[in-house]
């Protein structure tokens, strides 16, 4: 929720009191989850460049060049809070969200990976739900889940971590959320319902006992995602797309405003045109719904592409246009319900206080009673037929379609190292990742990071975060191993008990010719 100071700040910028809809919009856009207000100062310090980096952090996912017009698009993302409230749907929609980030850029997802942290092996509610959620979603869409790691420690009992990563491939144009010209705003995919309203705000707060947060969790439908994936890739081929953005956290609000801010223009939409699943939805509910499997495209007004969506039985509606006003204008027919300057939506950057704390010794239990094959066999690791090494091996290796090239990839974390010394802990993790890729003759290309931390208002947590960012920055620069995308998840705390600093790294490397190596695969 907005603090009193933030509300005053907003009133000052607008020179008036925001109405109900506008307040909800600010509430979502200024949430930690959407604005990165506590983290952006430190994230700017990361090493993010390289000759092969086509697009670094700031876009839906990072893009690297692997020669011959081939490009890889990858990112890791957390879905921690929803997975604790409702493990199955939370984990499933996490996988759905990250895959959408990849195909929004015009790339076809070719591999899914995940890194999971649970309280203990006895926590069957969360473990069974999360694993089944990930499996059902990825299997149905038809993207192989080639790597999965599970970690167990007490601090994750009420704060399980579900981090999902997707790697995509394309040899065609990359599409971004930056519109280079004006166009019509088109809504495609599933209908909008009341699920997931306030999800971004929920993920920006600590949990306390007894609260029912279930309505803030989204519900996934992998079949819709598969249709949306195929339809979107078909649409990109037509050349009609000016910009694309998936509807993730804060749904329609963040996707529309992000495009307009990046395009340095305004945007105007009419909510009465949005396809709805339920009756009587308030404008702010439509704006903040996090219903899944929806996309926003800016299309060339002359383009006639509706038939693609008819073929795939998906909704396709023109809901507005890009404008010259630099405002975010929302109408319900002729009635303007929200009209705010876009620059006001950018939450002010915070430099939260940091303070080092002396760590007490902890006992890391050795887990022997958990069968990882039970997890791995639930994932379809072979679909698409390109998997060279699946989850049983590390790193995973997936061949590039119709080519001799292959991609090695892995996710790594080691929270106890970071608990004792965040700076050298992250250094250790990145080196480990780098050498894992080298071990299969892959050239390390870059990493994506998922930074899972406790409450940033706690100076000790912020200190850990700062140290991890600085450590990551040094190590990546030293190894020329840039960070091309990432995600921050704060507020992993329930009833005042937070997690250890848990940065998760997803590393990707290129194997020029997979036939040159003989892989030792347990099939």
């Amino acid at each position: 929720m907005l603090t009193i100071e933030e509300t005053e700040l907003i009133k000052g910028t607008l020179e008036r009191v925001p109405n109900v809809t506008e307040t909800h919009v600010f509430d979502a856009m200024w949430s930690e989850h959407c604005s990165y207000k506590s983290s952006k100062y430190w994230l700017k310090q990361l090493h993010t460049t390289g000759d092969h980096v086509i697009s670094g952090p700031g876009e839906n996912a990072g893009v690297v060049d692997i020669g011959d017009d081939d490009k890889l698009v990858f990112k890791i993302e957390s879905h921690n809070h929803p997975s604790y409230i409702e493990p199955y749907q939370g984990a499933a929609t996490g996988v759905g969200g990250i895959m959408r980030d990849i195909f929004t850029m015009g790339a076809r997802p070719i591999a899914n990976l995940n890194s999971l942290h649970f309280g203990s092996t006895d926590d069957r509610r969360v473990i069974d739900g999360v694993v089944k959620g990930i499996a059902d979603y990825g299997n149905c869409v038809g993207v192989p889940t080639v790597s999965s790691k599970c970690h167990f420690f007490d601090c994750y009992t009420e704060n399980p971590l579900v981090n999902a990563m997707t790697v995509g491939y394309t040899n065609k144009e990359i599409f971004t959320s930056v519109p280079k010209q004006k166009g019509v705003v088109v809504y495609v995919g599933a209908k909008t319902g009341r699920d997931g309203i306030g999800g971004a705000i929920m993920a920006s707060e600590e949990f306390s006992e007894g609260e029912d947060k279930r309505p803030t969790v989204q519900v996934g439908d992998p079949f819709q995602e598969k249709l949306l994936l195929e339809a979107s890739l078909e649409l990109f081929e037509t050349g009609a797309v000016i910009a694309a953005q998936d509807m993730g956290a804060a749904g329609l609000t963040s996707s529309t405003t992000e495009i307009a801010i990046k395009g340095n223009c305004g945007i105007e939409i009419d909510l009465s045109l949005v396809p709805l699943r339920e009756e009587g939805m308030e404008p702010w509910e439509i704006l903040l719904s996090e219903s899944q499997e929806r996309m926003l495209f800016i299309l060339n007004p002359e383009a006639d592409v509706k038939s693609i969506f008819q073929k795939w039985d998906l909704d396709y509606v023109e809901i507005g246009t890009l404008t010259d006003t630099n405002n975010f204008t929302v109408r319900v027919e002729d009635n303007v319900v929200c009209d705010i300057p876009l620059e006001a939506l950018d939450a002010p950057e915070l430099q939260r206080p940091t303070e080092k704390v002396k760590r007490e010794d902890i006992n890391i239990p050795v887990v022997t009673d958990f069968d990882m094959n039970w997890v791995w066999e639930q994932y379809d690791s072979q679909v698409i037929g390109n998997t060279i090494q699946g989850p049983q091996a590390d790193p995973a290796i997936v061949r590039i379609p119709n080519s001799k090239k292959a991609i090695a990839m892995t996710t790594l974390s080691c929270a106890p190292f970071c608990y004792y010394n965040p700076r050298s802990g992250i250094r250790n993790i990145i080196y480990d990742c780098y050498y894992k890729l080298l071990s299969v003759n892959a050239k390390p290309l870059g990493i994506t990071n998922c930074l899972n931390f406790g409450n940033p208002e706690n100076p000790n947590v912020m200190h850990d975060f700062k140290e991890v960012c600085l450590g990551m920055s040094e190590t990546c620069e030293e190894l020329k191993f840039p960070v091309v995308s990432g995600n921050v998840s704060f507020y992993n705390e329930t009833s005042g008990k937070g997690i250890m600093p848990t940065p998760v790294i997803g590393g990707v490397g290129l194997i020029e010719n997979y036939e040159n190596s003989d892989y030792n695969i347990s099939r």
């Binding site: 059902d136 869409v141 598969k226 639930q378 037929g385 099939r523």
Partner: protein
């Protein structure tokens, strides 16, 4: 041999099936969208794996309402259904029996040793399914009529609770099986037995 792949919304093993058939026949398979009302003139129609209509209702059930299924019921050319394709063929009544949720209640993805019927040859082909628990009330009759095409190698190896460990059924020109031969032909696959499945048919 000319082939065609029938594609439903939610089919997701179509691309590897295309590569697999091309590697075997050296002719590019024709892709047929499920809304088509005419079948192309080829020697074999293939229904690939996936989750047609998201497995809503029951796996394969909604796909049987597609116009192309009516055409498939009329043809005497070969029809091969893999995984979801097998489920569709059973739902459409082109093959006897039905496929239930695995007895483990979990999706299973792993390589399996299977054997051909009635003469036993061993093949190593991966499975990947959540509803592959084949059920038929009278398996002895299926064996007698030579409708059993494949079963898991040993009874103890039965991964999903299928009647007699059956994983493939044939009926005249139609063959359906849960294991994925299109995931067993490249050098890096668990075996290269996939082509043998096409030869068996």
């Amino acid at each position: 041999m000319k082939t065609a792949i029938i594609i439903f919304p939610g089919s997701n093993c179509d691309n590897e099936m295309e590569r697999f058939l091309y590697a075997y026949t050296k002719i590019k398979p024709i892709r047929v969208w499920h809304k088509e009302t005419r079948l192309p003139n080829v020697d074999m129609y293939v229904l690939p794996g996936g989750f047609s209509y998201g497995d809503y209702l029951r796996a394969g059930a909604l796909a049987t309402l597609s116009p192309i299924i009516t055409e498939l019921k009329k043809t005497d050319r070969k029809i091969l259904g893999i995984c979801n394709g097998f489920q569709i063929l059973c739902e459409a009544g082109l093959l006897p029996g039905t496929l239930r949720i695995n007895s483990t209640e979990k999706f299973i993805c792993k390589p399996m040793d299977i054997i051909t019927w009635p003469v036993h040859h061993q093949r190593r082909i991966p499975i990947a399914h959540a509803e592959g628990n084949y059920y038929h009330p009278n398996p002895a009759k299926l064996v007698e009529e030579q409708k059993v095409a494949y079963s898991y190698y040993l009874y103890e190896n039965n991964p999903n609770g299928s009647t007699m460990g059956i994983c493939g059924i044939r009926n005249n020109n139609v063959l359906g099986m849960m294991p994925h031969p299109e995931r067993a032909f490249e050098s890096y696959h668990c075996s290269q037995d996939g082509f043998k499945i096409l030869e068996d048919f």
